[in-house]
Structure formats: C-alpha cells, structure tokens
C-alpha cells in the first residue's frame, strides 16, 4: 500500500547511521585491541590509524542520528513512533531536547554521544594507554549501539530503534487506510513532569557522569590485561571528573525532585536515585584508594576493584531502571520495552569478564605485606573508602529486593517507612565519613609525628562550639523516630560541621594558603556542607498547611470514629477570595489565569503573615496531563529566603462551571430566631437601617435594611452574612450575601409584618458555588547549604583535575 504524506527518508538515513555506528564501533574495538597487543609503535601505527578513523565514523553516525531525530521531532513527523509518543505540536522549543531523554532510545543515544566525546578526550590525553583504554571504550560503544539498533536477527529483536514507524509498531485499524496520517493530528506529548527546566539540563549531566565511569574502568581493565599498573596516575583526574559529573548529575536530579516536589523533597531513597548514588560512592572510594596507592604503594587491589565495580553498578542501575523490574517499588522507572534479556546481557558481558580477569590477575597485583601504620593517612583513607563501599553495598542490597523477588519468587516489599530504614543506618555512615573527612588530611602519609596532631586542636574546638550552638539554638527537634535517632542526628551535625571547619582550617594550617593544591580540601569542605544541609533540612522540614479544621472534634468520620488529630492532614482547602488561617499566615486564593504559551494554569495565592512583617504572592500552577491521562500535574511555586524555602503545591482544585439550577427557599424569621441549613445553622442577630459599614452597597437616595446574621457550620466555623434590601420610592432592590465556603446564598426578601417583626428571607444552598483548591505548604530550612555544598564540591574536584593534568600534562601525550 502507498501511504500518503509520510516522510520516509529521514528514518532511512537514521537507520543507516544506526547500523553504521555499530559496524564502525566493532571495527574500532578490534583495531584498538589489536594495537594494544602490539609492542612497537611502528607496528601499532596502522592499526591505531584505522581505529581512530573508525571512532570518527562512530562519532559522525551518532551526531547524524541526533540531528535526524531532532528534525523528526521538531517537524512533528508523527509517522515516527518516537515523535508520536514523546512530543506534540504545542511543546515549547526549549523542551524539544527533553524528548530525547524521555524515551529509552534517546537516552541511549545521549549516552553514546558522551561516550564518543570522552573517547576523543582519551585519544588526546592517554598516550601509551590509548589503545588499551579505547578498546574497552569502543566495546562499550558496540553494546550501546546494539541498544538502538532495532533489527531482527533470526526473530530476535536487537535493540529498540528510534526511527521506527508508528504503523509498523502498532496494530490499529487506521493503518489500513493510505491516508492514515491525516487522522493523527498530534502526538501524545512529553510527560508533564519533564516539562521543567531542570529536566533539560539534569539528564545530560547525569549521563555524562554515567558515561564517564567507563574511563577509570577501562584504565583498570587495560592495566590488568597488560599487567602494568602505571595507569593509576592518568586515571586519577578521570576519576575526579567522573565523581564531579556524576555527583552533579545526581544532585541536579535532586534539585528537580525538590522543585517539582514529585518525591515530596529532594531525596526519597527511591530505587532510581539509589541506583545512581551507589556507583558514585564506590567511585569516590576508588578515587581515594587510587590516591593512597599513588602516595604510599598500598591499596592497589581495592583501587582495581572499586573502579571495576563502579562501572558495573552503572550498568546494573541501567538494568534496574529500564527493565521494568522495579515496577511496584518506584514511581519513576521506564517500562519494559521487551529488552530485558539484552539489558541483562549488557550487564553480564562486562561483569563476568572483568571480574574473572580481576581474580585471575589478583595475585600478580603488587601489594605491600607490611600493614599500614594506624598513624598514617593511607590507613584512614582506606578505612573511609571501605565505609563508603559498604554503605553503597547496603543501599544497593536494599534497593534490589524487587530483583530478589524475581529471582526467587519471594514476596517481599519495602518496610512501612522505607525512608527511615535508610536514614537510620546512613546517619551513622554520615557520622563516620564526616569525622574521617575532618581529620584524615591532618595525617601524613606513612607516619604522622605526634606533635603534628596539635594542629587539629583549634578546628576541633571551633567545630564543637558551632555544632553545639546549632544543636541548642537550631530547634533540631526531629523526635518522630525516637530519642536515639535524634541523638544520632546531633552527632552527625557535629561530624559535618567538623568536616567543614577542619578542612577550611587546613587551607591555612596544612597548605599555607596554596590554593592551587587545595582541590581536595575544597571538595571536602563542599562534602561537609552537603552533609550538614541534608541533616538540617531533613530534620526540620515542616508542614505549614497543617489542617486543623479538617480534624476538628465536630468532624466525625463514617463508622462514628473521630479522626484522631495527628493523622497526616496536610491539605488545606482555600475558597476563592476567602482568607484562611494557616498557622503563621493568612492565605487567600486570589484568582487563577491560564497562560496559552506554556498551557499552564497559574493560581495566585496571597500570603500575609499574622505578625504583619511578611507579605508575598506565589503562583503554583497545574498543567493538563497528556498521554491519555486525565487530570492535572501540579508544579509548586516557592518563596526562597536565605535560610529557608516555602513551597506551595496545589493538590486539587474545583471550579464551578455547572449551571445554577437550585432555587431560593423562602423562610419566615424573626430577630434571634435560628434557622437550619444543610451544613449547620444560622442566627438572625438584628436588623439595621442604613448601616454605615454597608454604605458602599446602596445609593444616597435609597433607604436600606440589612440583616446581621451569624452562620455556624457543622464543623464549628463562624461566618457573618448581611443580606439586605434597598428602597427607592416603590422600587425594591435585593442585595444578596454569600457564604462562599458553605455554598450558601442568603437573600432578604421582604418584611412580612412590621409589628411582630416577621421577615422573609430566601436561602439557597448550591452544591458547589465557588472555585476552591486544596494545597500543601511545606517549609524546608537551610536547604541552600546543600546546594552550595554541591557547587563547592564540584569546584574542588575540578581544581584537583586541573592541578593533576598540569602535573602530568604533556608527558603522556608524547607517546604516539
């Protein structure tokens, strides 16, 4: 059949490049490997040339695929499944790139892109290590290329291609018609959660971090194969780079989670988060043992192990998040694309050979028999690395329960409070690591003279003073989990402060202000700040929208049981235009507007502090869900202070668009009478003539009568209502009054009998009279210490990379 309106060429070109990237990376792998087996540069030369050319073709293929996919998405060619499932016409240009990482195929392309780029950096800098390192890196490229191949080999689908056509992937009746494209008006769109600026920058950085772990791994493998352990020197800046990129990527994800509140905070120990944190921990462990080896000759074996396991854990995390195995435990995983076997092979093809090689070579890796002096820096660095590794092992073991269920058919689920299950352990890791970060730099390699320790006395005292001040005056009162955990938090705060203070002091005491050599120290200061920020902000997160009205004693749940106060009642209802009491603030839902550009509906929420010293408006928004989902996705708005953030988050909203069909019911009433309505009662207090406070409602030549009524709802809330009439000659005008939150409209009809004081009022109760919304408001204190800490840590790592590259620079590049 000839289909009308399809653009098949871009897809065909794209598919060609997908195949080319596989073939070229295979060629590169073979050629680099061949070169690495040869000893003389002269023999190596032709193979190296071929290999670099092949790597060049891989790079061109990846770039071409990127360009074509971008063309398909930005031109809305919905005949392609990728464009149809991950974009739509209304998408803003700045989010076009996000479409790449919404799908598995696009994110594998991103990974490939970084892998290629890192390859060129290796080619430029690795010198004699180039062939060995690049053969591993090119092999990684082969496996990545198979992921996006989308070709059938003997009925087995290999990879999932980004350029497949919708009609080939789906069975739907419309595809039997040649003009089917004219029915597909729009794509299903980019997930609303991803329409956030963090989601434009977080995935590229995170994938750079993922991709970069291959370099230390490749150096280690090349070292094992050639029985040459000199690689530890050029690998060091790479490990620092990896730690910086991966750390930054993870924390940008945390910043996204924080800003979008999709996890109720910046960290939830979600499997997806854990799976990328653990390789970071092992990589940092490897970075430290690598330094130990360089300076003392100890810890070479652990260095091999840590670098190998870090990359393996990256592959494992890929398997976890993309295979759908996390289904019931994570809110945040890709579904099964039917590639589970391939993903598992992706993991095993690296895991088995690298570990086998490691154990075969284990005996031949040099190791010093005499044990480290406990007064030496290497001893404590090793202990620290070990703690990082074991902390990671514990986290990944806990995260892997779904895998366990799959393997052994068990039925285990996360604990009742999964976050606490992690926190109660990791707080002790924070204590140990914080302390080690503080003191280890004060040790010298090999042995530390006793007198040297005096230096650390002053920083210790200062840290103790600061942390005691925080403990006493900081209102750290996270007592939900018992006194023991609170105590641990206080100790951990000391450890974090100690790490910051001791390392800051070390800049002068140890390094005498030589900033060039201060990379590690600065990174440690940043790390201490990260710890401190995490401890303080998590221990002090408070709910401001604590709903006291919803749990009032008058409110009785079905079954006759009162809702015990203390239940999570974090949602507060706001009626449009009605100021509502919320702890320190009076909050009002002022209005809402829809922005046609980003298709978001913004709610204006007014905050006035009762003390009168703070007044601001926030604009949280909701965006209509796409992809066949109903309802809305909410984006919070935040008010940032230097020491805290206040977040507002719309949990639901209702608007009254239904036709008003309810009529007024007329009732006779006298002063001091009580009337009942659906949700409570009302009392007529008095009638006043021409009241001054209602002057704005009637004209000068009118005579007015206003009722002063008190409405008491079942929940025990009091409202006043003042319906009235205005008379001008024989003309009668009624002035109704509305109790918005009770959906009650009151009308003063007439005076029935002046002598007995009988009046007639109209009462109208509508189902839903007013727009309302429910929101949650959180306060996160001191979160900025965390973000600043990340920045400082990354700066420190970059400083140390620069310093190391300068030191070793030129020496390695000369070889080929």
């Amino acid at each position: 059949m000839n289909y009308i309106g399809e653009h098949l060429l871009p897809g065909q070109i794209g598919h060609f490049f997908a195949v080319l990237s596989l073939v070229a990376s295979l060629l590169a792998t073979i050629a680099f490997f061949k070169a690495s087996r040869l000893n003389s540069p002269l023999e190596q030369q032709p193979w190296m040339k071929l290999a670099r050319w092949a790597h060049g073709f891989v790079t061109i293929s990846i770039l071409a695929m990127f360009g074509i996919l971008y063309y398909i998405i930005s031109n809305h060619l919905f005949e392609y499944k990728y464009a149809y499932t991950h974009s739509d016409r209304s998408l803003q240009a700045e989010y076009l790139l996000s479409c790449f990482w919404e799908g598995q195929e696009g994110s594998f392309m991103l990974w490939s892109f970084w892998n290629c780029l890192l390859g060129w950096m290796v080619i430029r800098t690795a010198g004699k290590w180039e062939a060995g390192v690049m053969s591993v890196l090119s092999f990684t490229q082969v496996t990545l290329a198979t992921m996006i191949l989308g070709v059938y080999f003997f009925d087995v689908k290999v990879g999932s291609g980004p350029f497949v056509l919708l009609r080939n992937e789906m069975d739907a009746p419309i595809f039997s018609r040649p003009e089917y494209l004219s029915f597909i008006k729009d794509g299903t769109g980019l997930n609303t959660l991803l329409q956030n600026y963090w989601m434009v920058i977080h995935p590229p950085i995170l994938f750079l971090g993922f991709a970069s772990t291959v370099v230390p791994f490749a150096y280690a493998i090349a070292g094992l194969m050639g029985k040459d352990h000199e690689w530890t020197k050029p690998a060091l800046p790479w490990a620092s780079f990896s730690a910086a990129a991966l750390g930054l990527g993870i924390m940008m994800g945390a910043a996204w989670a924080y800003e979008s509140l999709s996890f109720g905070g910046y960290w939830a120990w979600d499997p997806v988060e854990n799976a990328s944190l653990v390789p970071w921990l092992t990589l940092v462990a490897g970075l430290h043992t690598n330094l130990v080896y360089k300076n003392s000759g100890y810890s070479l074996r652990p260095t091999y192990f840590f670098y190998i396991i870090s990359f393996i854990l990256i592959l494992y995390s890929t398997f976890l998040t993309r295979s759908g195995v996390l289904g019931d435990t994570s809110v945040h995983a890709f579904t099964d694309l039917g590639m589970n076997t391939q993903l598992l092979l992706f993991l095993l093809v690296f895991l088995i050979p690298s570990l086998v090689l490691f154990f075969i070579r284990y005996k031949s890796i040099p190791s010093i028999v005499k044990e480290e002096n406990t007064n030496s820096r290497e001893f404590w660095m090793f202990i620290g690395s070990l703690i990082l590794f074991l902390a990671g092992a514990v986290i990944i073991a806990k995260t892997s329960t779904p895998v366990w269920n799959k393997l052994f058919g068990t039925n285990i689920a996360p604990p009742e409070d999964p976050e606490f299950a992690y926190n109660q352990i990791q707080v002790f890791v924070a204590i140990l690591i914080g302390m080690l970060t503080a003191v280890t730099q004060y040790f010298k390699y090999k042995d530390t003279p006793k007198a040297h320790f005096r230096k650390i006395l002053v920083p210790t005292v200062i840290a103790l003073a600061i942390s005691l001040a925080i403990s006493f005056f900081g209102h750290i009162s996270y007592d939900k989990k018992g006194i023991g955990f609170l105590g641990a938090i206080h100790v951990a705060i000391f450890a974090a402060v100690y790490a910051i203070v001791a390392n800051s002091a070390y800049l002068w005491l140890g390094l005498k202000g030589k900033l060039k050599a201060a990379g590690a120290t600065v990174a440690h200061i940043g790390f201490g700040m990260v710890l401190l920020g995490i401890l303080i902000s998590s221990a002090k997160k408070t709910v401001l929208s604590w709903n006291t009205t919803g749990v009032s004693p008058l409110r009785v749940e079905e079954g006759g049981k009162p809702n015990p106060a203390g239940n999570p009642a974090e949602n507060l209802t706001l009626f449009k235009g009605v100021a509502t009491d919320m702890g320190r603030y009076m909050v009002t839902y002022v209005k809402d507007t829809t922005n046609p550009l980003d298709r978001k509906r913004y709610f204006e929420i007014d905050f006035t502090s009762k003390a009168g010293n703070d007044h601001f408006r926030l604009y949280p928004d909701v965006i209509k869900n796409n992809k066949g989902m109903e309802g809305f996705a909410a984006n919070p708005a935040a008010r940032h202070y230097w020491d805290k953030d206040i977040f507002v988050y719309i949990t639901s909203f209702q608007e009254n668009r239904s036709a008003d069909t309810v009529t007024f019911k007329n009732r006779e009433v006298k002063v001091h009478d009580t009337l009942f309505y659906g949700n409570g009662m009302m009392i007529l207090n008095k009638v006043s003539v021409n009241p001054k406070e209602k002057k704005y409602l009637y004209a000068d030549d009118e005579t007015s009568l206003f009722l002063d009524m008190t409405v008491i709802s079942k929940e025990g809330r009091f409202y006043t209502a003042n319906p009235g009439i205005a008379l001008k000659g024989q003309e009668l005008r009624t002035i109704t009054d509305t109790v918005l939150s009770q959906s009650l409209i009151l009308k003063f009809n007439k005076v029935i009998d002046q002598a007995s004081g009988k009046l007639e009022i109209g009462v109208k109760e509508t189902g839903n009279i007013t727009d309302l919304l429910t929101l949650k408001v959180y306060e996160f204190p001191m979160i900025n210490i965390l973000w600043l800490g990340i920045v400082v840590m990354v700066v420190g790592l970059i400083m140390s990379i620069v310093q190391r590259v300068k030191k070793t620079g030129g020496k390695n590049t000369a070889a080929v």
Partner: protein, 135 residues
C-alpha cells in the same frame, strides 16, 4: 591479625547485621483476604478501584479524607480510607499499590502508588486506545 583486617571484618559484620535487621522490617505484598487475616499489620495491597462504588472525596468538606472501594484479582473487595488529597488521575489507574493496614474491617491507607497506563511509559495498549479514539 592485622588491624586493617580486624576493622574490615568488623565493618562487614556491621553491614550484614544492618541487612539482617532490615530484613526484619520488610513487609509483604498481600491480597485483600490475606491482609484481613493480618489485621493491624502493615502490608502492601495490590488492587484496583472498584468502579461500582463511588469514590468519596469532597475538598470543600475535608481535603484530607478520601474513601473508595478496592478490589483485587481474586475478586475480594475492601473499603479504603486515605487521609490525604485524592491523587490526580486515580480513576484511570489500572493498578494501585496501597500501603497500610486493615483496621476494623476497612483498609487504613498510608500511601498510594498509582500504576498508570502511561506514566513515563510507552505502554502499547494505552497508545492503541488513543489511536483508536483519534480516529
């Protein structure tokens, strides 16, 4: 024995102890019938919404009260009470993971995990439906 080795062993022992302790905290996935048997115990219930019963949520009255009836694959059903806002798109969800405990005959839910047909996903069935409706 070297100091390093002792420390390594102690730390590994501590890690194992931590994991053993964790395994004690682990909960289980249950059906409605088996959850009823374990009244008061925190479990994970895999179920879906019984569309035959109304979902009760009125933000004007109490924004922190949601009640609905859940039914599992074995056909048993139970009333669920959740003290929080109604998750958006709950009606569309094909599967719910409810965390909480059975209490006096109803399920006191602490947390709801929605398994939507197409959240983050390229679920073929959901897409098929959409293609058919756009036809």
């Amino acid at each position: 024995m070297k100091t390093t080795h002792i420390i390594i062993l102690v730390l590994i022992a501590a890690s194992i102890a931590v994991l053993v302790q964790y395994s004690g905290d682990l909960t289980t996935y249950e059906t409605i019938a088996s959850a009823r048997e374990k009244e008061g115990k925190h479990v994970n219930l895999i179920a879906k919404i019984d569309k035959g019963h109304p979902i009760e949520y009125d933000a004007a009255k109490n924004p922190n009260y949601l009640s609905f009836t859940a039914v599992d694959t074995l056909g048993n059903s139970i009333k669920v009470v959740y003290h929080d806002a109604k998750p958006t798109d709950m009606e569309k969800s094909e599967r719910l993971v409810l965390k909480g405990a059975v209490k006096d005959g109803y399920f006191d839910c602490k947390n709801i995990l929605l398994k939507c047909p197409s959240k983050y996903k390229d679920d073929p069935n959901a897409m098929k439906n959409q293609l058919q409706t756009s036809n």
